[in-house]
Symmetry: C2
């Protein structure tokens, strides 16, 4: 049930879709959505608790990525369903486009820009 609750929020689904491109740090997701860092952090915490994403801390940044082979089948299959069934919307395409711009920028500059 932690999984169903986690994917019931549109912003968290957007995060799961964005992470298809690879791992992202908190400030990159913040830059993508325009939410406050604390809001993004909370969403990531819920996704993490549901076993849908994993994290890696390096230098100043925490990177989040989709749960891999080590994750329970229920989580992996939920991720697959989200990508397949919710990944073709206009919003997803728009996010992917904006994400490209963000990925072309150094994370440090993104953080400086949003003063996070």
């Amino acid at each position: 049930m932690a999984i169903t609750r986690a994917i019931s929020d549109p912003s968290r689904v957007r995060i799961l879709l964005a992470l298809r491109q690879g791992e992202l740090c908190v400030c990159q997701i913040t830059g993508l959505f325009g939410f406050a860092p604390s809001t993004v952090s909370k969403h990531l915490s819920i996704l993490h608790q549901a076993g849908l994403i994993q994290s890696r801390k390096t230098e100043r940044w925490v990177y989040y990525r989709l749960a891999g082979k080590s994750a329970p089948a229920a989580a992996r299959e939920a991720i697959g369903w989200v990508h397949k069934s919710l990944g073709r919307t206009g919003e997803a395409a728009r996010d992917a486009k904006n994400l490209k711009k963000i990925l072309a920028t150094d994370p440090a500059e993104i953080c400086r820009r949003q003063r996070c």
Copy 2:
């Protein structure tokens, strides 16, 4: 997103699991859960709007069943995930056990008993 919202509530998941046994009328589900009929009706409405269940009206009763072949793939796959990933809990087993008793009783008597 209607699907993710629909399966984010534990009671609605319980309904989807109960419907594995076959179609059920509103008063049978009401008897299984102990909720007010209006509460069950609302849950069924949300599941129906998400395309996860279908309904059939006959005589005085409305029977609900899991969405079949005609339903969109996203809905059918969500149902499959729910059954596979959430159908093995103790609560699901308890519900299935209680449901057997309810199925052994005439729907009319169930309704009379709960004055619905």
